[in-house]
């Protein structure tokens, strides 16, 4: 809870102060990447507040339409993250994700979206620092691209 008059710094308030801040939506598998992000938070590792995390049961749950919809609704970039190959809690979900996302990325690239706007990573539950680094890099990427011109 915050005191009256005090503001919490979020990506939105930061934008009002410093100009453009990209909105990054991240779909994280709850077994690995979400736990990895949690570890980063628990370990007090600093990473940009531009990321909005959405937890899903498995990276395989991430229908490409979720990514498309996030971009339509104003996200400047989308990150899809799941367990490393072989580590999926449901044995093989992330292998399907990998195929699906590759095709999504290729299609979006063909339609003229910069490939840096939609990215994928493998982040395990113990990779807090990697998670912070991935978010850092992607936020930088998208910042340099600016908002999607529509």
């Amino acid at each position: 809870m915050t005191q009256e008059g005090e503001t919490v710094q979020t990506a939105d308030t930061k934008e009002q102060e410093d100009g453009y801040e990209p909105k990054l939506v991240a779909f994280l598998c709850k077994w690995c990447s979400y736990a990895g992000a949690d570890l980063a938070g628990g370990g007090r590792i600093k990473y940009p507040a531009n990321v909005r995390i959405i937890r899903v049961p498995c990276s395989c749950r991430i229908d490409p339409k979720l990514v498309v919809k996030a971009l339509e609704r104003g996200a400047d970039g989308v990150l899809v993250s799941g367990c490393h190959p072989g580590d999926c809690h449901y044995t093989e979900g992330n292998y399907y994700t990998r195929r699906r996302m590759l095709m999504l990325f290729k299609l979006l690239e063909f339609l003229g979206l910069d490939p840096k706007r939609v990215q994928m990573s493998w982040v395990s539950a113990s990779e807090g620092p990697k998670w912070a680094q991935v978010v850092e890099e992607i936020t930088e990427d998208i910042k340099s691209l600016g908002p999607i011109s529509t």
Binding site: K65, R99, M103, L107, L111, G112, W122, S149
Partner: protein
């Protein structure tokens, strides 16, 4: 072409007379000589309506599946469904392969009167009724156009596609004509949640066309029907050809080529490409 028509009529007559089929799906002459139209023959006396010529390009596999499809209709009890024979061009046959792969119906539910053109079809027709020439000029033209778009910069591509999609009037003809759009409820008709806005705005049109194209990745056999029926000439074949190329390159899979294969996005290999992942 005359020969093919003759052979189709002969086979259809035989099938209907012997009671091996209740229905023959084929083509008949349309409103003038330049037009052919799909027709449905259930009686031997009507067999002479069947024709085949260069205007018979419709993908008849559409009539087999979906809510009202002859082989899958949920309004007709299984034992009351007709035994169907179908006049199939190579494109239709490739679609049939995909539909069998996706377990829409079994191979033995369908008698295929196949017309071949030397291209790969992953299925053996019951009867080969003729040979036609492959339209290489058309596929070369589409390939060239895909390469042309690939060579544009990202922002040029974006602007180009925005312009194409801006014409979309959301008539869903592309969906209605596609044999692989057999869902009983299309995602574009859903309201809660509404994934795709229904009005024809730039965002909605873009989302619809992206999602439509995505749902056909690894399944589309590139019959070109969506492109043909589009009333505002959105070049949907470009998306189909581009994605078919990507599927083949990444997963070594060709839609419609092997009836026993698992569809590309319903399977995986541990060594699939992953150099795009951080």
């Amino acid at each position: 072409m005359k020969e093919i028509t003759k052979k189709i009529r002969k086979e259809a007559r035989k099938l209907l007379k012997d009671g091996r089929a209740d229905l023959v799906i084929g083509y008949e002459q349309g409103s003038d000589e330049e037009v052919a139209t799909p027709c449905f023959i259930t009686d031997v006396s009507q067999v002479d309506r069947l024709v085949f010529d260069e205007h018979c390009y419709h993908n008849l596999a559409k009539y087999l599946v979906g809510q009202e499809g002859y082989l899958t209709s949920r309004f007709v009890a299984q034992e009351k469904r007709p035994r169907v024979a179908i006049v199939a061009t190579p494109a239709t046959m490739r679609s049939i392969v995909g539909l069998i792969q996706e377990h829409q119906f079994a191979r033995d539910k369908l008698i295929i009167l196949g017309i071949l053109d030397g291209t790969l079809v992953g299925i053996e027709p019951d009867v080969v009724v003729g040979q036609i020439e492959e339209d290489q000029e058309k596929s070369a033209r589409i390939q060239a156009q895909v390469r042309e778009i690939e060579e544009m910069t990202a922002s040029e591509r974006w602007a180009w596609w925005e312009e194409q999609f801006s014409r979309c009037i959301r008539c869903y003809a592309c969906r209605q004509v596609c044999p692989f759009c057999y869902c009983e409820q299309c995602i574009s008709d859903e309201n809660q949640p509404q994934w795709i806005g229904k009005s024809s705005s730039p965002e909605n049109n873009r989302t619809w066309n992206i999602i439509r194209a995505l749902h056909l990745v690894g399944r589309c056999t590139d019959c070109g029907e969506c492109d043909r029926v589009c009333p505002v000439d959105i070049p949907l074949s470009l998306l189909a050809v581009k994605m078919a190329g990507e599927v083949e390159e990444a997963f070594d899979y060709k839609a419609g080529a092997d009836v026993d294969a698992k569809p590309a996005l319903h399977s995986f290999r541990p060594d699939d490409p992953d150099d795009f992942i951080r």
